[in-house]
């Protein structure tokens, strides 16, 4: 696993994660460094991408109430930023996932307001999707890296593995 900060490395990866932070800051950085198009191509080529929190916002098709030119638009969802409120309204909550309770951490988190027909909802909180999958693109509203339970990281790694298996089979 490596941290990618510049253009030119990404095409050699098997899967990438766009982490949390501020989507406005990350979006500008990606464009400036020429990584915006690289990520778009990466996703269009069927390679797995996970976006968490700000990363999910950047993968989405639209942000309610905002004019954005930095959305990669690989995931057919529409989100609302800081939907629960400010940091004061950030929270932890146990959500049910695959027959266990998972402690999800939401920090100034986005809410997925609309999902396209091909988007599979993996987990929900408060009747709203918090983990989604569309083909090779995965998005979480929460921060899996802040929880001890690594089940959501496993989920993404499995997506990467199955994609690698598929590529191998296609070669043969």
């Amino acid at each position: 696993m490596i941290r990618i900060k510049n253009a030119g490395i990404l095409p050699y990866c098997d899967g990438i994660v766009i982490p949390g932070g501020e989507s406005t800051t990350i979006g500008k950085g990606l464009k400036k460094k020429g990584m915006f198009d690289e990520i778009k191509d990466f996703g269009m080529n069927g390679k797995p991408i996970l976006g968490t929190c700000a990363g999910l916002i950047l993968l989405s098709k639209g942000v309610y109430g905002e004019e954005r030119d930095d959305l990669i638009e690989l995931l057919d969802v529409y989100v609302e930023r800081n939907s629960y409120g400010r940091q004061r309204e950030s929270f932890e909550i146990e959500v049910r996932f695959q027959n266990r309770l998972f402690n999800a951490v939401f920090i100034r988190a986005p809410v997925i307001k609309r999902v396209g027909n091909n988007v599979k909802v993996l987990a929900e909180y408060n009747n709203s999707p918090i983990a989604v999958l569309e083909g090779n693109i995965m998005g979480f509203c929460f921060h899996p890296e802040l929880s001890r339970d690594l089940i959501f990281q496993d989920l993404f790694l499995e997506l990467v593995r199955s994609n690698l298996r598929k590529l191998k089979t296609n070669k043969i």
């Binding site: 501020e22 400036k32 004061r88 950030s90 929270f91 951490v105 920090i107 100034r108 408060n126 802040l146």
Partner: protein, 299 residues
């Protein structure tokens, strides 16, 4: 009522530390009005610090420096989507309660304002995360023990002279390195000497870094200054007067954001350092008397 809702938890340590982590690799900029806040957001700031005056002006004005008018902070909160932080005086927990009620995303218990007490705020009883200044490991770990979710160097705010930030950052990092390989007895001795709790000293020794996010602040005025602090190991930087006291704030803001992202790429740093106009004029710290130093506030 949905049973799940009962376990909804706000303002936990994880939520506070998690927020601070999201600031990593970013630039937090001092702003005094909506217009500046929007410039900062457009330049790619990860957050803004809402103030009534930047530190250089606070220094010039003299007198008692207090929490900004909450109306100014509120205007800034309404103008941008990125997190908004604000400063309170050291020990002034009533100012902190007011800012928590306002809903700022993080509070800076800051030596830039006139201290209200010799003791610092008990930050653990707040739901809002705090950032505090430090000049050495002892100060940093005492603040963390009090509940700070982020540490920043004090540097010497409002001077545009990065020297003190460098000194404080190197002091902290050096002290952390010196903990390596020490036995529990030796760490207890260190804890006693630097007046910090043993448990946090031990955690720092094992992690070989502060247990919370560690930013640089105080006197950062150019992209090169910001890159310097990142190279020394900072998780991100605060820029106070350096942006809006420069000739071309927008360019300076963008350049510093890029310098923090590309601090290990001298070619990019070269590009972003060109034609920025005059940086803030600044004050050589050597010309300040001990009385004029802000960094000695707090302990």
């Amino acid at each position: 009522m949905d049973k799940k809702l009962e376990s909804l938890r706000y303002g936990t340590d994880l939520i506070k530390l998690g927020f601070a982590k999201m600031q990593k690799g970013g630039v937090i900029m001092d702003v005094v009005n909506e217009k500046q806040a929007i410039i900062a957001e457009n330049a790619g700031a990860i957050a803004v610090m809402a103030l009534h005056a930047v530190p250089a002006d606070i220094r010039k004005a003299g007198g008692v420096a207090r929490m900004a008018d909450p109306a100014i902070i509120e205007e800034i909160m309404n103008a941008v989507t990125i997190p908004v932080m604000a400063k309170v005086r050291i020990g002034h927990f009533a100012e902190a309660e007011i800012l928590e009620a306002l809903g700022v995303d993080m509070i800076d218990e800051s030596e830039v304002l006139t201290p209200a007490d010799e003791s610092h705020i008990d930050k653990k009883r707040f739901k809002v995360p705090f950032v505090c200044g430090a000049r050495n490991l002892g100060e940093a770990l005492r603040r963390i023990d009090e509940g700070a979710a982020m540490i920043r160097t004090k540097g010497e705010a409002g001077t545009g002279d990065v020297k003190e930030a460098v000194r404080h950052f190197k002091a902290i990092m050096g002290e952390i390195r010196s903990l390596k390989g020490k036995t529990n007895e030796e760490l207890k001795d260190v804890a006693y000497k630097i007046n910090a709790p043993f448990e946090i000293v031990k955690e720092t020794a094992i992690l070989q870094r502060l247990p919370v996010v560690n930013f640089a602040a105080g006197g950062i005025a150019t992209p090169a200054d910001a890159a310097l602090m990142m190279k020394l190991g900072a998780d991100g930087v605060f820029v106070g007067s350096g942006i809006f006291k420069s000739e071309n704030p927008q360019k300076m803001a963008e350049a510093i954001v890029e310098a923090v992202e590309s601090y290990d790429d001298p070619k990019r740093l070269l590009e972003v350092s060109k034609r920025l106009g005059e940086p803030m004029k600044g004050i050589d710290i050597e010309s300040l008397s001990d009385k004029e130093m802000l960094q000695t506030r707090g302990f």
